[in-house]
């Protein structure tokens, strides 16, 4: 068991969830309630990482983060380091590829709230912020938590993008999914087996949590 890689994966998962939570809340709610031009295009864009091969996403990010791109140069001038092959770069890549996993359940959860229930909040004298905090969040939270659990679990298992953007630097970019590949290459099946089983258990647990939560939504609506 490569504990360093395991902890790095956990860190990456937590960082991704922390950054993505406010973004997903804002964007998921906006997609659920607002009508604007190009909404269909934005929704397609949100879903794009689901279809795109991870290596393709990783390749473009690598190019964007690299020394030859304007973005990479700007970040290097600002921070003195490159995003490519760094933990920070991994976090950004992880946020981007997890957008559909986080946004879509949150959007569905907000959409599932009856419009009249939100209106009833306003008519009862609640400010828009109070409606959000006291009506929308309590009703949408199973969907929100589902999105975050999926994001976390998916981050642990992400392979292609991490390999392209981060390489396999121990303690910096070598996550557990990379470590499994690494161990298999080294014919260390025992270590690979333990780590694979760990990921399997975590994924099953994540699915268990999301299933329980979606049943809870169903019950409440009944």
């Amino acid at each position: 068991m490569d504990w360093e890689a395991f902890l790095l994966s956990i860190e990456l998962g937590i960082a991704t969830v922390l950054f993505l939570t406010p973004i997903a809340l804002w964007a998921g709610r906006a997609l659920a309630y607002r009508e604007f031009r190009g909404k269909g295009f934005v929704e397609a864009l949100v879903a794009l990482p689901l279809l795109l091969p991870p290596t393709v996403v990783g390749f473009y990010l690598l190019v964007a983060f690299g020394r030859h791109s304007p973005l990479g140069q700007a970040i290097e001038a600002l921070t003195g380091q490159l995003l490519a092959f760094s933990f920070e770069g991994l976090v950004i890549a992880s946020i981007l590829v997890n957008i559909p996993f986080a946004f879509q359940p949150v959007q569905r959860a907000f959409e599932a709230i009856e419009p009249s229930v939100r209106e009833a909040g306003a008519v009862s004298g609640l400010t828009p912020w109070q409606v959000f905090r006291r009506i929308e969040l309590p009703l949408a939270w199973p969907g929100i938590v589902t999105g975050l659990v999926l994001t976390f679990a998916h981050t642990l298992g992400e392979f292609g993008v991490v390999l392209m953007v981060g390489g396999s630097i121990p303690g910096e970019t070598k996550t557990i999914a990379i470590a499994i590949y690494d161990r298999v290459q080294a014919f260390d099946d025992r270590s690979a087996n333990i780590m694979a089983a760990t990921l399997l258990v975590l994924s099953i647990a994540a699915l268990g949590i999301t299933n329980t939560l979606s049943r809870r939504i169903g019950r409440r609506r009944g």
Partner: protein, 363 residues
């Protein structure tokens, strides 16, 4: 007549056409009556602040809620309105008590639970305070919605088809409850409905809406005799509505004498004190027309009047409106009878009333 609490003028061409102006007076129940698509719910949403029309103004107790000229729009949470939604729109994650307390933001926090329970007992739900909406029946949910709407101490109470999702038995019980409430409320009440029975039961005044316009306006009795309006004609069951006062009860004959604008009528015995104000409904199909008062008749009420209008109806029927004193009565007769008897506007006629139904006891 008391001054208007709320006056509104709303205008727009699209997407939902609106072109109307009206006043609401304290303690009065105004029905917005119309078919679906007539814009009645949209008008209600404008008053609540949930829908902003292109042009117009709304003033309530001296404060402007909407003025398109001044680009002024007060959002719903800053208008003191109570709205009972058609689907009640209770907060599903809160108990009945919390639903009501959520609308008590104007009170200090420590006073809210007591006031919420007080409002729940007003609608006879104090025993259900800890239940969530999913654990309540349709009628109970509606009553929680009413309690929540009253919680803000509204300047105007808006009811959006509040009975449409309920079965008949529950509905009738709730009519009585709303009637009892309205006696205690000083604010104007607006009832949106497409059911004339509700209008006849609950309303003082009716605005008949068609594609966002008021096509008729008046007290319930006057509007119920407007056979020229398709929606009134379609509500044949409703017939004519008359305000009445109980004069006396004749126990030996098991009848009550009522004073109505159409003259005195006899009705099945009503258990109430003389002087009680009532509202009665006379279905158009239960009115027979005759040239003179016939003899040897089982019908108690023969009222002499003059024909006002005759409107043809499908299936060989005609809707005849008879003026009786200050009232107007609708009668459904066949086209053949119109021809045979030579019925025409201005002709004197006797209306024989087969049944008189009391729709609103003790109003």
């Amino acid at each position: 007549m008391a001054d208007a609490v709320l006056s509104a003028a709303l205008r727009q061409d699209a997407p939902i056409p609106l072109d109307l102006a009206f006043d609401l007076r304290p303690g009065e129940v105004t029905a917005l009556f119309g078919a679906s698509g007539s814009g009645k719910t949209t008008v209600l949403r404008c008053l609540a602040g949930l829908y902003r029309p292109r042009a117009g103004r709304i003033r309530c107790n001296g404060a402007a809620w909407f003025d398109s000229d001044a680009d002024l729009w007060v959002p719903p949470h800053r208008r003191r309105v109570g709205l009972v939604f058609q689907d009640y729109a209770l907060f599903p994650h809160m108990t009945a008590e919390a639903n009501v307390a959520a609308a008590l933001g104007h009170l200090p926090k420590d006073q809210r639970p007591a006031r919420a329970r007080e409002l729940l007992s007003l609608v006879h739900l104090e025993a259900f305070a800890a239940r969530r909406p999913a654990e309540l029946s349709g009628g109970q949910r509606q009553r929680v919605a009413v309690a929540r709407a009253l919680a803000r101490d509204p300047e105007v109470l808006l009811l959006d088809e509040p009975f449409s999702a309920l079965d008949r038995a529950v509905r009738v019980a709730l009519y009585a409850e709303i009637e009892a409430l309205r006696a205690r409320l000083a604010c104007p009440i607006v009832l949106v409905t497409h059911d004339f029975e509700e209008v006849a039961r609950l309303a003082d005044r009716v605005l008949v809406l068609e594609t966002g316009r008021i096509v008729a306006e008046g007290d319930v009795g006057t509007i119920s005799a407007r056979a020229d309006l398709p929606i009134i004609a379609a509500a044949a069951e409703a017939g004519s509505v008359l305000d009445a006062t109980l004069v006396a009860t004749l126990p030996d004959r098991r009848l009550s004498v009522l004073d109505t604008p159409a003259g005195q009528v006899l009705a099945p015995v009503i258990e109430a004190a003389p002087g009680t104000r009532l509202r009665v409904r006379i279905p158009a199909r239960d009115v027979i027309l005759a040239d003179r008062v016939p003899e040897g008749l089982s019908v108690h009420n023969a009222l002499a009047g003059t024909i006002d209008t005759i409107d043809p109806r499908p299936a060989g029927l005609a809707d005849v409106v008879v003026v009786l004193g200050a009232a107007r009565l609708r009668a459904h007769v066949t086209e053949d009878a119109v021809m045979r008897m030579g019925l025409a506007p201005g002709r004197p006629v006797v209306a024989l009333v087969k049944s008189v139904a009391v729709t609103r006891p003790g109003a």
